[in-house]
Every structure is written in C-alpha cells, then in structure tokens.
C-alpha cells in the first residue's frame, strides 16, 4: 500500500494514472447508469465516492491526487466557456423574456440568502457559518470572494457549494418533474440558480434548452448575489 502512495507522490506516470483513472471510473459508472437507468447512480457522485474511498484506503492525500489530476481541473474553464453555445442558440427567446427571468432569479437569490442566513443563525448561531451557507448557491470563485469580504468561513463555503451543487444535480430534475415543473426552461433556471455550474453541467445532457437556461441562471444569479448579498447580510446581522 505504501508503495502505491509513494508512486503517486513521486512518479510522473501518476499524473496520467490519476487523470485516466478518474475518466475510466466516470465512463464506467456512466455506462452502468445508462444500462440500468437508475437515478441515484449519478456518474459524478459515484466517481467522487469511489475515488475518496480509494484515496483513504491507499492513504493518499487529496492534495497529492488533486495536483496529479490537475489537467482535468484545468479543462474546467474551457468547458464552462463552451456552455456559451447553447446560450447563443436560445438568445432570441431569452431576450424576449429577460425581465421575467431576472425577476425570478432575483427573488430566488433573496430567498436563498435570507433563508440560509436566518435558519443557520437560529440553529447554529455562528455568524461566519451563516455567511458561508447564504452563499452556497453561487459559483465557487464568487462565493469565496464575498465570504472573505464579509468575514464568513471560507472552508464551509467551499464545502457547502459542492454539496448544494450535487444535491441539485442529482435530486433536482426528478424533484422538479414530480412537482410538475416540466418546462425545460423552468428546470434549467431552477437548477442553474440552486446548483450553479455542477447542476448546469449535469442538466446540459438532458437538452440544449436546459443547458441554455441553466447557464443563464448561473451567470445572472452570480451577478445578483455578488451585488445584493453584502447589503442583505449587513441588514440581517442587525436582527440577531
């Protein structure tokens, strides 16, 4: 076991192994999911769990794995940029509905920040955790910056962002269908607003319309939260 850990830390091949291994696990789970058609067998979630178990078993640190799987992480930025394509395809329809879209996303951002802050203050009573949780629905770089500005706990921010992302990505589509939210536009907006880029990347496989509206919600929610959260949080603090 120690040998694998040492190899992982020292050998250049470990980078290839980390990237290839990650892709292999992901593709395998995807193939199994397509065959069995089970919702909970979400490729992203299962791959993460499998890799965590493997790293813990082999006593490999996350930092070591992450530095070797850096290539995949570096591809994240171009992959997010590629989401501009479905957005471009639906630009015409979106332009006609922009007022209602912005309105619903603004209400969403307000409710997300206020509900998370108040519930956390009531249950845990810690300001830095409350700030962290109020920012969990926006994309990581923005949330971390705002959390730092407002003296929030950045480690919890990072953790809850991933949680919110996976939760919306996995439970979002079946839940929305269950409550009869079947329009691809509504589903895309809801998942983009609640589960940022992780949710967007997952629903983008359902349809282009999902991808377009989810990308739009991702951007608009990030901008809205960046602008309004400092004001809302400073106001909410006076209540406690």
């Amino acid at each position: 076991m120690v040998e694998i850990a040492e190899l992982m830390n020292t050998h250049i091949l470990s980078s290839i192994a980390a990237v290839a291994g990650t892709i292999a696990i992901f593709q395998f789970t995807w193939a199994v999911q397509r065959k069995l058609n089970v919702i909970w067998l979400q490729p992203m979630l299962i791959s993460i769990l499998a890799i965590i178990v493997f790293l813990l078993w082999q006593d490999i640190s996350f930092e070591s794995y992450f530095s070797h799987a850096g290539l995949l992480n570096a591809l994240l930025e171009p992959a997010v940029v590629a989401l501009g394509f479905p957005l471009y395809q639906h630009l015409g329809t979106i332009a006609k509905q922009w007022k209602s879209i912005i309105l619903v996303l603004m209400i969403g951002a307000f409710v997300a920040i206020i509900s998370s802050f108040i519930i956390t203050m009531l249950l845990i009573g810690d300001y830095s955790i409350a700030v962290a949780l109020s920012l969990k629905s926006v994309t990581t770089p923005i949330a971390i910056t705002i959390a730092e500005q407002l003296a929030g706990n950045t480690a919890i921010t990072a953790f809850t962002i991933i949680l919110a992302g996976f939760f919306g990505a996995i439970v979002g589509p079946p839940w929305l269908t269950f409550i009869k939210v079947t329009s691809p536009k509504a589903q895309g907006l809801a998942i983009g607003a609640a589960s940022h880029v992780i949710g967007t990347s997952t629903v983008s496989n359902i349809s282009y319309e999902h991808a377009a509206y989810s990308s739009l919600a991702l951007i608009a929610s990030a901008v809205i939260t960046a602008i309004v959260s400092p004001f809302i949080i400073s106001f909410l603090v006076t209540l406690f």
Binding site: K136, S195, A226
Partner: protein, 124 residues
C-alpha cells in the same frame, strides 16, 4: 471521401479549440480588470456574443461543443473529491450544515422552478 471528412473534422476541432481558448483568454483579461465575475463566466458571455455576432462560425463549432458539454461533468470530479478534506467540519458542526444546505437548496429549486413554470404556461 473519408480523408476529406476526417480533415474537415480535424479542422473543425482545432477551430473550436481556438475559438474557446481565445474566449478563455479574453475572459481572464476581463476578470483581471473588472473582478466582479470569475474569468470562466466572462469567457462564457464573450463566447455567446462572439457566436451571436458571427465572429466564429457556429456550424463548424457545433459538433466539438456538443462533445465537450456531454463530457464536461468529469472535470468536476477532482474538485468534488475535495469534500474529503472537510470531514472534520462535518464532525465539528454535525449534520446541521448538511441539512440546512439540503433544505435551502430544495426551497430555491422549488421556488424558481414553480414560478417560472407558471410564467412559461401563461406564455404558451
């Protein structure tokens, strides 16, 4: 014939890489001078408008982008594994944080989804 198709596919893939990477670069410049949004979101906006203004040919980019979007989820796996570094946090604050995250995400999903669904139905 096959060679021509292959050459065309390779050209389109390279063209798409060039288009996307130039938007990534421009996004980074924007994020440097106006740090309101992260560079990837600036890149996304620039890419959308570059296609809209026909700076890039959407037809040539289409197949590469479809492939890219279909497979992008795998790029989140390394960052997601980062959860293992936060086990201590969960131990410290218990399951409350996880529960609050789930409940409020649920609330947001339902609110935005229902609200826009009603609007979409009215429009139709």
């Amino acid at each position: 014939m096959k060679v021509i198709v292959f050459k065309e596919n390779v050209f389109n893939a390279l063209y798409s890489i060039f288009a996307i990477l130039s938007c990534v670069a421009l996004g980074r410049v924007c994020a440097f001078y106006a740090p309101l949004l992260p560079s990837s979101l600036y890149g996304l906006i620039i890419f959308t408008f570059a296609l809209h203004l026909r700076i890039f040919n959407a037809e040539k980019i289409k197949s590469s982008v479809i492939w890219c979007i279909k497979n992008m989820a795998v790029c989140f796996v390394p960052a997601g594994v980062g959860i293992m570094n936060h086990f201590e946090l969960v131990k410290q604050f218990g399951i409350t944080i996880v529960a609050i995250t789930f409940v409020t995400t649920f609330l947001l999903l339902t609110l935005v989804g229902l609200h826009y669904q009603r609007y979409a139905e009215r429009e139709e």
